[in-house]
């Protein structure tokens, strides 16, 4: 059964292998030589004391460009997996009725679907896991030595370097399989699976800040920005009585006339910000991954239910 699946989807397997080599290779290149070159360029730049200095600007730009491309390539994986699963894995077989043919040939529908999902799920998990791991390590290697690296909470960086993207790729695979089974049309399933993956991803981004209790920091209005970086949940102004006043983010209060008048009028005395510091990285990543995995499992279960329901009704109408 596995050999049959591999033969049927050989082009997809080749594309996946080539994509892994290309994106994985780029990430490894970024992690090693390109990080070193960009770090050296930043050392040159920071050591500069004259008005004009020679530094390897190309190395910095090359690192930044490739980082952007590689990050978006990793983030695109769940969408491409969903598109493929919807169009090629189940949708096409039901459109051309080869699935029904297999079911009449002694392959039970449940085994048929299990065989179709097991190997792709393994390959998607392993491949996406590898890319995400490389991205994570690569970002950490550059974080302290390259001055213009993205912050850990920059959304593309946060998602491309964590297990959420692996969970999303699995959810995309099962969403595609389910869409193909329900719609029984290859291209309609492709579109539906991609949109479903996009909705799931948007949903994850929306709930993520609320998955762990944030840390509240209170700071002086003399600072340009409210205290505490990381993933912001909310920023407010506090009055002397501890009341929250939201929505009127100005600047620092010690320039006369600029923002101090506003703060006086509102009675604000300090900033208050609810945020997630770096120490919440893993709790947030793992909680969100668990939720996406739960959705993936539900999609897979639904796919099995649709298959058995369909064959039962088919055999009833045949008898």
């Amino acid at each position: 059964m596995t050999r049959w699946l591999v033969r049927l989807h050989r082009p997809a397997l080749v594309v996946w292998a080539v994509a892994l080599v290309l994106v994985g290779g780029t990430l490894a290149w970024l992690w090693g030589p390109l990080t070193d070159a960009a770090a050296a360029a930043w050392r040159q730049y920071n050591a500069c004391e004259a008005s004009t200095c020679l530094y390897d600007q190309d190395a910095i730009i090359r690192y930044k460009d490739l980082y952007t491309y590689a990050t978006f390539a990793v983030l695109a994986v769940p969408f491409l997996v969903a598109a493929w699963a919807g169009a090629a894995l189940t949708g096409r077989e039901l459109e051309q009725h080869t699935a029904e043919l297999a079911w009449t040939q002694g392959v039970s529908p449940t085994r048929w679907l299990l065989a179709k999902l097991a190997l792709p799920a393994t390959l998607v998990t392993a491949g996406t896991g590898l890319l995400v791991l490389l991205h994570h390590q690569m970002w950490w290697a550059g974080e302290s030595v390259i001055d213009n690296t993205k912050s850990w909470y920059d959304p593309p960086t946060f998602y491309a370097g964590g297990p959420i993207t692996v969970a999303l790729a699995l959810a995309g695979l099962f969403a595609g399989a389910l869409a193909g089974l329900v719609l029984r049309r290859s291209l309609a399933a492709l579109g539906t699976a991609m949109v479903a993956t996009g909705v799931l991803w948007a949903g994850v981004q929306w709930v993520l800040p609320h998955l762990w209790s944030p840390v509240t920091v209170v700071g002086s209005l003399r600072d340009q920005d409210p205290p505490g970086g990381g993933i912001t949940v909310s920023t407010d102004l506090l009055t002397a009585s501890g009341e929250h006043v939201g929505g009127t983010y100005c600047g620092r209060s010690d320039y006369p006339g600029e923002c101090s008048d506003l703060y006086d009028r509102l009675g604000a005395v300090s900033w208050s910000r609810d945020h997630h510091p770096l120490s919440h990285y893993w709790p947030l990543q793992l909680t969100a991954s668990a939720i996406v995995l739960a959705v993936a499992v539900l999609l897979a279960l639904a796919a099995f239910r649709v298959t058995t329901a369909r064959t039962r009704s088919a055999s009833r109408s045949a008898s």
Binding site: A88, S186, L187, T248
Partner: protein
């Protein structure tokens, strides 16, 4: 063109038509809501910021308006990705793959007519959608400039304020068609067509500021509405239409070439090297 065949193409692709209509009308309604309702709420919040010349005050409140406005132009601009995928996959690729195209050609519809129907109907639908969207976007985008942090030189805003956004969609339709005729299989054709359109768009967008001479090499101060390009160079707002129309012309020329190539390829494909043997009537 015969209206019966026009209706056939519309009926066959009614799902795509519904999605497109919902997208255009939904985004138009959302823009009206943002401009007429949301903007007033934001202005009320901003009123608390009076006497504060700082750009920071109310920045986050303005996000409620500027954020969705930005997404609308982004989705409309990059909609040509979906058009490329759809025309390569659903419009042409599937019919070639499943053999329904060949069937149609034996039923008295010539291949050239068949292709002309499949290009004209979606092209009309795209042009009508653009004709509804673009004027509304132009109105909504300029209604509350004080709440937006963008500028007419932003890639998506630049395209969505005129016919360029439609030109990209038409080019995607043509490129998708040509790709499907070359590859003859829906899924690979979709992937190739989207990739070709992304590369074409990146390339043209990279050279977008070079399509009309820039101003500012004399070190003059750029006006507030200028599209600044670095090194003191900029395009004043009056350069919008020349830049926009030249790029529209370039993209439409690529579309025309792709359409011509598609018809030539189809004729080459469907004209047998040896004419079919004539059966004698007897």
């Amino acid at each position: 063109m015969n209206t019966g065949r026009l209706r056939t193409v519309l009926l066959l692709h009614r799902a795509a038509l519904v999605v497109w209509a919902a997208f255009v009308l939904g985004s138009v309604a959302y823009q009206v809501w943002l401009t007429e309702v949301t903007a007033d709420d934001v202005h009320a919040t901003l009123a608390a910021c009076r006497d504060t010349p700082s750009n920071y005050c109310g920045l986050w409140a303005a996000q409620d308006y500027s954020g969705p406005m930005g997404w609308i132009s982004t989705f409309m601009y990059y909609g040509f990705w979906a058009v490329a995928a759809w025309s390569a996959g659903a419009l042409i690729g599937r019919e070639l793959e499943s053999g329904t195209a060949r069937l149609a050609w034996t039923q008295g519809v010539t291949p050239a007519r068949w292709l002309a129907d499949r290009l004209t109907v979606p092209a009309l639908v795209l042009v009508i959608g653009g004709a509804v969207f673009v004027p509304v976007f132009r109105w909504a985008w300029s209604a509350h400039r004080d709440l937006m942090g963008d500028n007419w030189g932003f890639a998506d805003v630049f395209a969505a304020r005129g016919p360029l956004v439609v030109a990209y969609a038409l080019c995607a339709l043509a490129v998708g068609t040509l790709t499907a005729l070359l590859v003859r299989r829906a899924l690979p054709a979709m992937a190739v067509a989207v990739a070709v359109m992304i590369v074409l768009n990146r390339y043209v967008e990279k050279h977008r500021p070079d399509l009309w001479p820039t101003v500012g090499s004399d070190g003059g101060e750029p006006p507030a509405t200028a599209w600044q390009l670095g090194d003191g160079l900029y395009h004043p707002a009056s350069h919008f239409w020349p830049l926009h129309l030249i790029e529209t012309g370039i993209v439409l020329a690529v579309a025309a070439l792709a359409v011509a190539a598609a018809f030539l390829l189809l004729r080459h494909r469907t004209q047998p090297a040896h004419p079919p043997r004539q059966e004698s009537p007897a």
